[in-house]
């Protein structure tokens, strides 16, 4: 290969000369899954009130919006981009649904309009990032304020609460005979779609390639701009869907719904092993991370730990996981190459 693609090439070589089982066992994702299982076991056996079906129901209802939005966010962050406007889009979708229902539209129509708003909002992000060429961090900080401003502007300080009971009941209903709420069904459908997209299509391979090296990806024939545009639209529409769920679950459309949700999503995606520099990450790690944070918060609330302390604990976990990953990567590169050539070491660490 030629000089510009050195980084990508070295990484591929580096990962493939380990056996599969070692890659899995030592991976960041596995660590999160193990931690999730450990936290679940410890909580179930020591925390009073945790060991009951209600816990699972409440937990999944609480994390459902994060789970949903984490799917497109994972792909976006693997390309090395970010979308900070998702929480505001949840709010805007919620308000859109509310305003239309208040104006007399059937709920289905209002929900479709909210999804359309999601597509448009995502397309605005995508347009500014790919066509205009602005950094996604700056663009989505802007649309974070813009979407939230529209949401609050449309409803002011009032709330719409007149949603059809059959819909609000559906948002909280459990699958017959289980403690699992129905919202998990659309989530699993989306999970399968996103997993297939990421792992079994040229589009998905393009996503990783863009994150490793945008220029190399472009030279290899990946439609860099088109891929990113599609991902931002997906983030918009999935956020809008999460907004409809959010509205129904709480039976209340408010301009300030889901304020700060984007940070919870991004924290989970990073904890789940997605590199903020792009090129690295797996959906299962992210899902395990969302469930880990949810389970931990649920257990800590049950032992009357205050919200501030819960934030401190999840924040520390996030920082430790990032440090741990860097240290692990460093140790592996040292151990596996006793006499590294300077160029390889430099590019592997980059």
């Amino acid at each position: 290969m030629t000089a510009p693609t050195t980084t990508a090439t070295v990484r591929v070589v580096k990962n493939y000369d380990k056996p599969f089982w070692r890659r899995v066992l030592l991976s960041r994702e596995t660590a999160i899954v193990v931690l999730l299982i450990a936290v679940a076991i410890v909580s179930a056996s020591t925390v009073r009130g945790f060991n009951q079906p209600l816990t699972l129901t409440f937990l999944l209802l609480d994390v459902a919006p994060i789970l949903l939005i984490a799917l497109p966010m994972t792909l976006i962050m693997i390309t090395g981009e970010i979308d900070l406007s998702v929480g505001s889009m949840v709010g805007l979708s919620s308000v859109t649904t509310g305003v239309l229902v208040q104006a007399g539209a059937p709920f289905g129509v209002a929900a479709l309009a909210a999804l359309l708003v999601g597509v448009i909002g995502g397309a605005i992000n995508g347009f500014l990032v790919t066509v205009v060429g602005l950094p996604s961090l700056a663009v989505t900080i802007g649309t974070l304020a813009l979407f939230r401003g529209l949401a609050v502007g449309l409803l002011g300080t009032t709330a719409v609460t007149s949603f059809p009971v059959e819909w609000t009941a559906l948002a909280k209903a459990k699958i017959a005979g289980t403690a699992i709420p129905y919202i998990i069904v659309p989530f699993l459908v989306l999970l399968v779609i996103f997993a297939l997209l990421l792992h079994f299509t040229p589009f998905g391979r393009g996503v990783y390639a863009i994150g490793l090296s945008k220029d190399a990806a472009r030279f290899s024939g990946v439609h860099v701009e088109r891929t990113k545009f599609v991902l931002f639209v997906l983030a918009g529409v999935v956020s809008a869907f999460a907004g409809i769920f959010y509205t129904l679950r709480f039976g209340s459309a408010r301009g300030d719904n889901a304020t700060g949700l984007e940070l919870q999503v991004i924290a989970a995606v990073v904890l789940g092993g997605v590199s903020v520099f792009g090129g690295r990450g797996q959906l299962y790690g992210v899902i395990a991370a969302v469930l880990l944070i949810g389970t931990l918060s649920s257990a800590l609330r049950l032992v009357n730990v205050t919200s501030d302390v819960i934030n401190i604990i999840t924040g520390t976990l996030l920082v430790l996981s990032v440090i741990g990953a860097s240290v692990l990567a460093f140790l592996q590169s040292r151990r596996r190459r006793p006499a590294p050539t300077p160029t390889v070491a430099a590019s592997a660490a980059s």
């Binding site: 679940a40 209600l54 797996q282 009357n304 934030n311």
Partner: protein, 345 residues
């Protein structure tokens, strides 16, 4: 590429299933967590859920609640979200349901959004008392109301009448022009002035939009436009503090009376320097105290929340449940130089 798609996907599926199944399996094995609380008779563990934590107003109400719970020998706990959001409260309501607490004492961030979780808690045997901010009546057993519109209007008219000698021009500095509460109070104040204080003339109502700077400017304009003004009523905590700040450094200090609804921490300096003689609000400590006793009475089955039920709330005495399951704390509390240092909110 850097991964083996099929195996990774399979692992992902296994991991998620395992994680879910693990929690789900854990579910079926255990006994009911609400043991001891069902029936709602003896479980005196009472959880306060304010709009948010770290809010001096709710710290004060929690102090009252804690004192009451200590008196009747229950367990007091206060939890809450860091930001005043309904979804944050729902998580804590759900947690209380899982814990099987005896009663939940809530100040609602949204009258509707937390309804379903409150009702889920109630069907699990948790008694629900709202205080400060009510939910819809179908979602709680009792609402402990801090003050009625009539009481709030009357105390402000009485205070201004006393301070200006029951005659002369007054004006009102309100919040937003369409603020529901303030407009209801202003209408009642106008009626009271007309019927009981014929010599007091309300010359103007201005709106500071609950914005500090706007309220400050409106106060200045008001005093310029009405040179004979003897008093100002500001039925909003933002307005009264801004008006007091203007008066305290102006020539009108001590000449134009100011009263209304304020909080002790905002108003302390102006009480001490003589700008303001007295103002009103309810006492959040008593509010928390009463809410805790209402929770106790519900848990013990002494009351059910229907109109006419009576219970005794320690040092505050006997209370009767009114229409819509509402218990009224009483007349607003008047703060002046003699008592303001007893409060921190």
């Amino acid at each position: 590429m850097t991964f083996a798609p099929k195996r990774v996907l399979a692992l992902a599926a296994v991991a998620v299933t395992a994680a879910l199944a693990l929690t789900a399996c854990a579910d079926t094995g255990s006994s009911s967590p609400t043991s001891g609380s069902s029936g709602g008779s003896g479980n005196l563990s009472i959880t306060f859920l304010p709009k948010n934590l770290g809010n001096p107003y709710f710290d004060t109400s929690a102090k009252g609640g804690q004192a009451a719970v200590a008196e009747f020998g229950g367990t007091f706990n206060q939890v809450g979200p860091a930001q005043a959001s309904p979804d944050g409260q729902v998580s804590y309501i759900n947690t209380a349901t899982q814990q099987g607490v005896g009663a939940l004492v809530v100040s609602a961030n949204d009258p509707k959004a937390i309804c379903d979780s409150l009702n889920q808690a109630r069907s699990a045997g948790v008694k629900v008392v709202t205080f400060d901010s009510d939910t819809e009546t179908s979602c709680r057993d009792i609402f402990v109301n801090q003050a009625t519109s009539d009481g709030i209007a009357k105390v402000q008219v009485d205070l201004i009448a006393k301070q200006i000698g029951d005659s002369g021009e007054i004006a009102i500095l309100s919040a937003a022009a369409n603020a529901t509460n303030q407009n209801a109070w202003i209408d009642k104040m106008k009626a009271l002035l007309a019927s009981d204080h014929p010599n007091i003339k309300l010359v103007d109502v201005v709106y500071g939009n609950d914005d500090d700077q706007t309220s400050f400017d409106k106060t200045a304009a008001l005093l310029q436009a009405h040179p004979n003004l003897k008093g100002i009523i500001s039925p909003t905590t933002v307005g009264i503090a801004a008006a007091a700040r203007y008066l305290s450094t102006s020539a009108y200090k001590g000449k134009v009376a100011l009263t209304g609804l304020g909080t002790p921490n905002q108003m302390r300096a102006y009480i001490k320097d003589g700008t303001v003689t007295s103002f009103a609000l309810w006492n959040p400590e008593d509010l928390g105290y009463l809410a805790a006793y209402a929770a106790e009475a519900l848990i013990k089955g002494e009351i059910t929340g229907k109109q006419g039920d009576t219970f005794t709330a320690g040092k505050l005495g006997k209370f009767t449940v009114g229409a819509d399951g509402t218990v009224l704390l009483g007349d607003p509390f008047v703060f002046d130089a003699s008592n303001i240092d007893n409060f921190n909110f």
